[in-house]
């Protein structure tokens, strides 16, 4: 609910990144209308002149290609210039299999798509090795090599290229449908749009954004970043192969259509239309493929105009066509909302801030105001934590003295040194008892953050063992440790700035839901997925309320919120999946006194809920206040571990840390 106005919260999904892609009645009606219009358009084109068909089909094929590129470039941050090469493989593959080996043209389709997807797996795996500009150049070289190969081989027709195979026409009974090829291309485009838009509305999409901008964050919430990158790239490659397959029916294919210029042009389509948007790549593809045909003038001057349009569109609207439209739309909506609401503060302008320190009252108030329409949404999550499934015999109930003696997390004799650097940690043993709050302090450079990164799986230790609830985890990846119920926060918040706090917190639940990746392909069509989306949103909202963030912040982009809200959001992310072990790396940095009080209360609440908490912090008052035990590190060595009182009294600690 809106804390400031007391107005109940409307669970309204966001326009651009609707996590909860809840197709309400209005939305499904819109889908039906859209589909009907699409089919009607296809019918119209299938009956139009072959000249117009030719134009529009080329535009449609490039739309498939641009959409597939945007999936990796826009959403996942892999700027591929290899899509021209993948496109060529699809087109040449289908043509050669058909004309040279006499395969049925529909048999070549799965072969091309799967084959190109496999090539995509290899290129996607390269992205784990090279990133950014280097990935772009690596993939450009792939395109160049494919281009050289198809130019030189005789089976590909050399520079002359190959004539297109015939696309079978409809049987007599269906001839009323018009040109069959139009239906084929239209179907391919529809398939692409469905798959990509599904992913964009799925719970996988925030994970992709996180991989793009903050990979450590993604793996800390349980996203298998390497697998996801490779998977998404190979899906994108499969769609590029599909585009190639459809392209081969449109006319002669020649190496010139798939050279480095073409590779760059596909990226230009995406950027010009609007990167990381639903429709932008389509606009860009239609513009670039139709411009030379529609603008009828001296070819040289036309080329000049073409280049000039590039410059001016991007200089005037750096977000591309769709970015321009979206900005206009946001402005319109904002003005209207201002006019309507009058007194209601807009998030980001007049923040009612974090609920002031009235811990119990605020919680109850928010909890009761949360008007979750379906109480089932907050029922226990689908995948409860394995750690909690340990039979009661092994883990005695809380409150029993023995429970506190059981270690939740043990780091035994671990050592780590950075490449070419000194030892960051030397033979450190660090045991955290279950259900306690354990502080980790030490001067700057003492190895606290290194230890946290080793525990969470960000770094791999070179010697020693780490156990979580008695299970050895030092060889597990960060995402596996998140799966086992260990969550962490980062010293400087590294979440996804384009998303709202609620969407970020929902991403924190990634490890608690099954098979998000495969289901993302058809996400809005799966009832289970839609339910999961709603549950994620509801749990995320509750979790935000628990750290004291009201609805005012739910809709603002994380990039626009103040630092304190960002820190608390991070806390909500880590708490949302109900971890059994929670590592907080300097949770108080930059928080106000009221917010510090809030976090202290929260940590105590977590302890009551049997969560084991590890806190790295410099504010010793906070540490000695909330921690049951404190470990002190200095220069990569363990100084001491003991209760707060013991540690405070320790002479060595005073010397190395408290400076007395």
């Amino acid at each position: 609910m809106n804390v400031a106005t007391g107005e109940p919260l409307r669970a309204r999904p966001l326009k651009a990144f609707s996590l909860a892609a809840v197709p309400g009645r209005g939305k499904s009606a819109a889908t039906v209308v859209g589909l009907a219009a699409y089919v009607a358009g296809t019918v119209a084109i299938a009956h139009s002149s072959s000249y117009h068909q030719g134009l529009l089909l080329v535009a449609a094929v490039y739309s498939i290609l641009a959409l597939s590129l945007d999936l990796v470039a826009g959403a996942t941050g892999l700027y591929s210039l290899g899509h021209a090469g993948l496109f060529a493989l699809g087109a040449y593959g289908a043509t050669i299999l058909n004309t040279h080996y006499g395969w049925n043209i529909f048999l070549t389709l799965p072969v091309c798509v799967v084959g190109v997807a496999l090539v995509g797996v290899v290129i996607g795996a390269l992205s784990l090795r090279v990133s950014g500009l280097y990935f772009a150049i690596t993939t450009l070289i792939f395109t160049i090599i494919v281009n050289v190969v198809v130019s030189d081989l005789s089976i590909t027709g050399g520079y002359q290229g190959l004539p297109s195979p015939d696309f079978p026409n409809f049987p007599k009974a269906l001839s009323g449908l018009g040109t069959a090829l139009v239906w084929g291309v239209s179907g391919a485009l529809l398939l692409t749009v469905v798959v990509i838009w599904s992913i964009r509305s799925s719970a996988l999409y925030p994970a992709l954004l996180a991989i793009r901008g903050s990979e450590p964050f993604a793996s800390s919430v349980g996203v298998r970043t390497a697998l996801t990158r490779v998977g998404v790239f190979s899906l994108s490659a499969a769609l590029a192969g599909l585009a190639g397959w459809t392209f081969c029916f449109l006319g002669f294919i020649t190496p010139g259509q798939f050279d480095s210029t073409a590779a760059v042009n596909i990226l230009v389509m995406v950027i010009l239309g609007g990167m990381n948007t639903r429709t932008g790549p389509i606009f860009g593809a239609v513009f670039i493929s139709l411009f030379p045909v529609v603008v009828n003038m001296n070819p040289l001057w036309q080329e000049v105009l073409f280049g000039a349009v590039f410059i001016f569109v991007i200089v005037l609207f750096p977000e591309g066509f769709v970015g321009l439209l979206a900005r206009g739309w946001r402005r319109l909506v904002a003005t209207r909302r201002l006019g309507q609401a009058g007194t209601a503060p807009r998030p980001g302008l007049a923040p009612p801030a974090v609920t002031p320190a009235a811990p119990d009252g605020a919680l109850v108030r928010v909890g009761s105001g949360l008007q979750v329409r379906d109480a089932n949404l907050l029922a226990p999550l689908a995948r409860e934590l394995p750690a909690r499934e340990v039979p009661a015999r092994e883990v005695p109930a809380r409150g029993n003295g023995a429970a506190e003696a059981t270690p939740a997390l043990e780091a035994l004799a671990i050592s780590f040194n950075y490449v070419g650097g000194a030892k960051a940690l030397n033979n450190v043993t660090f045991v955290v008892r279950r259900g306690t709050v354990h502080g980790l302090i030490g001067p700057n450079g003492s190895g606290k953050s290194t230890l946290v990164n080793l525990l969470s799986g960000e770094l791999a230790c070179q010697a020693g063992t780490i156990k979580l609830h008695g299970r050895r985890i030092e060889r597990l990846a960060a995402w596996q440790r998140a799966d086992l119920g260990m969550m962490r926060t980062f010293q400087t918040a590294v979440m996804v700035p384009e998303l709202t706090p609620r969407q970020n917190v929902a991403l924190g639940l990634f490890s608690r839901f099954d098979r998000i990746g495969p289901r993302a392909l058809v996400w809005p069509m799966l009832p289970s997925a839609r339910r999961d989306s709603r549950r994620m949103a509801a749990v995320a909202e509750l979790s935000l309320a628990e750290v004291g963030l009201g609805a005012a912040w739910v809709r603002a982009r994380l990039a626009d919120v103040p630092h304190g809200v960002e820190q608390l959001t991070q806390l909500a992310v880590a708490c949302a999946p109900k971890p059994s072990v929670l590592i907080l790396d300097e949770p108080l940095a930059g928080l106000s006194t009221g917010e510090v009080e809030k976090v202290s209360q929260l940590v105590r609440d977590l302890k009551v809920k049997d969560v084991t908490v590890i806190v790295v912090e410099h504010q010793t008052r906070f540490i000695f206040d909330v921690c049951d035990e404190v470990t002190v590190l200095a220069a990569g060595e363990l100084v001491t571990t003991g209760t707060a009182a013991q540690v405070r009294a320790d002479d060595r600690v005073r010397e190395v840390y408290l400076g007395q």
């Binding site: 700027y79 090279v130 280097y134 080329e303 073409f306 280049g307 977000e319």
Partner: protein, 304 residues
């Protein structure tokens, strides 16, 4: 063999100069100026056009270098600055600089036609024997100019306050602004210097490439690959990348077949990128680390 190396070095020097033109701009602004190849083309076309109008070669060269330098600055203000002001991290500059490249190339084709024009021979006709191989004075000049430019650049980069400010801007423009660096001024100078380098490369390569409105594409790509081999962390490394690329493509066209220079260098670059994802000459590069580790392993084994 020596002949191949020398020829490779001289063509590599051209690639390296273009690579440095990219690198200097990228170093300061994090932008790849995709119209760099067209700046080279512009300087070639201007010299060719003016000498065909019976200008003396000297003034034509001076004018062409001025034009390519000014061209770099114009590109910055027209196509790069507005985009960066909106979002420093977006890739929108790719589209706008490509657009500039297309416009320049096509305007050149409109002005000078699409077929190749002659270019003054400069020092190209005069051969000189060298260590058993032989080079033209133009090739020697090319290598010499490249070496002098790299040396001068490194001295300025490392020894002067100006150069150090450039490093500061490269790593953190906001911090550099805070200590008083004028980031815009540096960006303008980087684009100007990039334009000048591209122009110089044009003057040097003109006698063998002749003057064609579309040759910017080819040289642009090769220069870009040189940049990638060398790595973007140090602008001068692009010259090393250029030399490697030049030698490799000459080797490929001599020993494999004349077309092999179309793909062989790229295969090598691919291998290089996979081994050292940030270029060969980057400090603490993966390759060097691996080699050091390997040497240590071998030496420890031998001592045992």
């Amino acid at each position: 063999m020596l002949q191949v190396l020398l020829t490779g070095l001289s063509i590599g020097a051209i690639y390296g100069l273009i690579g440095m033109a990219y690198a200097v701009v990228f170093y300061v602004t994090r932008v790849i100026n995709f119209a760099t190849g067209q700046l080279l083309m512009a300087s070639i076309m201007i010299i060719s056009g003016l000498t065909l109008q019976h200008w003396a070669v000297g003034p034509a060269i001076v004018l062409s270098l001025l034009a390519s330098t000014a061209g770099g600055v114009v590109i910055y203000f027209l196509a790069v600055r507005p985009v960066l002001r909106f979002n420093r991290m977006s890739f929108a500059w790719l589209v706008s600089t490509l657009g500039v490249g297309i416009v320049m190339e096509t305007l050149a084709a409109i002005i000078w036609g699409t077929s190749s024009l002659s270019f003054p021979q400069l020092l190209n006709g005069r051969d000189v024997g060298l260590l058993g191989g032989h080079l033209t004075w133009q090739q020697i000049l090319t290598i010499g100019v490249a070496v002098v430019i790299v040396a001068a650049f490194e001295v300025v980069h490392r020894r002067t306050l100006f150069g150090k400010l450039g490093t500061a801007i490269s790593s953190d423009p906001e911090m550099a602004t805070a200590v008083g660096a004028n980031v815009t001024m540096f960006a303008v100078q980087a684009f100007a210097f990039g334009g000048l380098l591209a122009g110089i490369a044009g003057v040097l390569v003109g006698p063998i490439s002749f003057a064609n409105a579309y040759l910017g594409d080819t040289y642009g790509i090769y220069g870009f690959i040189a940049l990638m081999i060398g790595g973007t962390e140090r602008p001068a490394a692009a010259m090393g990348g250029g030399f490697i690329l030049g030698i490799l493509s000459t080797l490929a066209s001599t020993y494999i077949n004349p077309e092999a220079s179309d793909w062989f260098p790229f295969v090598v670059v691919l291998a290089v990128l996979l081994l050292t994802p940030k270029g060969i000459f980057t400090s603490g590069g993966a390759l060097r680390r691996r080699m050091v580790a390997g040497v240590q392993r071998v030496s420890s084994r031998t001592t045992l």
